[in-house]
Structure formats: C-alpha cells, structure tokens
C-alpha cells in the first residue's frame, strides 16, 4: 500500500489497530460524534460490510446512513427502532436499517466506532447476541490497543 493511500486510514505500519472514515458519512453531519470504522491490520469488517451493502442492498444502505447521521448529530439516540443497545453487552449498540445491522461502540473522544455488520435474515436472538459479543470483543481490543499505544 502506498503512502498516499494510507493517508485516509489513521494507522501506521507498526500500529495495527486504527480508525477509518466512512466515505458517504458527511463531515457536516458529525456535530456530536465522528463516525469511524474500526481497522485491524488494514482490514475492516465494517467497511467491507458497507461496501457490499451499498452495491447489493442500496435501500438498506440508505437506511443505515440515515441512522448514522442521526447517531452523528445526537448525544445519544433514544429510539430503539433506530439504535439498540446490547442486552448483555451494554456498551455496544446496533444501528438498524431494514435487514442491515451495523454494530458500534462509543469511543473515548466522541467517536462512534463501527466494528462490523450483518444482514439479518431471520429473527434469531442467539445470532444477534453473538454479534453484540463480537462487537464487545472488538471494543476490548480497541481499548487494549489504546492502552498499549497500538492505536492512534
């Protein structure tokens, strides 16, 4: 990867955990929180998910972007039809847009860190609980990385 390409991702070679912008999320929207995608070793499940969602399920992508805008301009979103906190992992949240779900947590500097997403095919509580658990693992990884100076 060239140096110029890396400019958009806030990570360095020796720092495998970082945050990246999400292209369609406008800077103007982000009055309360900045919306970022978690990057681990130059891979991001959130960006990968969003890229696929945009190309294959544009309607759901638009809904997710609407919720992202809401999250970006509100201190906290109360409407659980838009953003739902995890039952077991209370520090993790999901943005809901049609069948799409984008998981995130609030970072220490007003950032919203999107970890990954999935397309909900059926109402499976177990599956959803597992996704919140994944988000929580990424959250721990992020804070651990911060503590060790691996991120930012």
């Amino acid at each position: 990867m060239s140096g110029s390409n890396r400019a958009n991702v806030n990570i360095k070679v020796d720092r495998p955990i970082g945050l990246s912008e999400i292209p369609d999320v406008k800077t103007d929207w982000q009055t309360e929180h900045t919306i970022r995608a978690l990057v681990v070793d130059e891979r991001s499940l959130a960006l990968s998910f969003l890229a696929e969602l945009k190309s294959r399920h544009f309607g759901d992508y638009r809904k997710i972007m609407k919720v992202a805008k809401l999250v970006a301009c509100q201190p906290r979103v109360r409407n659980e039809n838009q953003v739902r906190p995890g039952k077991k992992y209370r520090e993790t949240y999901e943005m809901k847009g049609g069948h799409a779900r984008l998981f995130f947590f609030y970072g220490p500097q007003e950032e919203v860190v999107c970890t990954h997403g999935f397309l909900k095919s059926k109402a499976s509580r177990k599956e959803q609980s597992l996704e919140f658990a994944k988000c929580d693992t990424f959250r721990n990884l992020f804070y651990e990385g911060m503590g060790k100076g691996l991120s930012r």
């Binding site: 495998p16 681990v40 890229a51 638009r62 609407k66 838009q82 691996l150």
Partner: protein
Amino acid sequence: MKNHRGQRGTGVPAELEALLEGATPVQESLESLRSAPVDFDADPEFVAGFVKARFLEGVLRAMEEQSMTKSGLAHKLGKSRQYIGKLLNERANFTIETMAEIACALKWNLDVRLVRLDDPFEVGTCAIEPVRRRTPAPRVVPPEFSDEIEPVTMESQDGDDACAA
C-alpha cells in the same frame, strides 16, 4: 504473526481472526465506497426519513424528561395508545399539524425550517425543543454612572448622516 493461542500479536481472538482474513482490505473497501459517491442530503427519501427520525428523537426525549408514558401522551392528544406506538415506530405518516399537536401536548416547540446545506450549525431542518420562556433583560446601569448616562434617542443624533437613511 500468530501466537500459540492462534492469535495475532494484537490479541485478536481466533474466531475474529478468520472473519478479518475474509474481509476486503481497507483500501479496496474505501475505493468501492468512493467509486459511486452518494449525496444523501440531495435524496428526498433520505431527508424525509431523517427529519422524521429526528423529530421522534425529540418526542422521546420530551417524554423521558417529563416521565410521560405512551398512554399519557395518547391521553393528552386524545388518540389511542396504538396510534402513538405506530407513530413512534415510524409506521405512521404524520403531517405538520400532527407534529404541532404533539409538540403542544408536550409543551415543547416545533421548529421546521429550510436551511442552506452548507450551514455548519444546522443538521436537518425539523426539531422539537423545550419551550424557552424569554423575559426581557433588565437594563443595568451602574449607580456611579447613572446620572451621566442618558438614553440614546434619535434627537440626540441630529445631523448624523449615517442615520439619515
């Protein structure tokens, strides 16, 4: 590099390791997302959905602050609880009149404005906010100067061309 527990040096658990391996590299994802940029603020469906969602956030905030239940709001509006449920689930189409009724029932202000897209202080164009009762600011004149200060009147500015227009 993986350690003896099948983890990277970063401490990525093995189950997430496989997921990350399968993910597209960041640069590819970014290029894919940027290849067809979308200006959602120019999409009426998106704007309408966002304005509705933001209005409902305000309603939920007002209800929370006033410890008002859905039944309580329904009673104030003279509507059924089911209607309120439908409204809060964004399944109801509501007009500005309905929004005004809700705002008045909650004793909050409804603010519907058209703003420039590049206005850095405006996100969205519809919000519900607590009513702020404004009282005129008292005129404060320090006692030691009170005899020297005279109210400015148009008569005192006679001959001032700047005010002639």
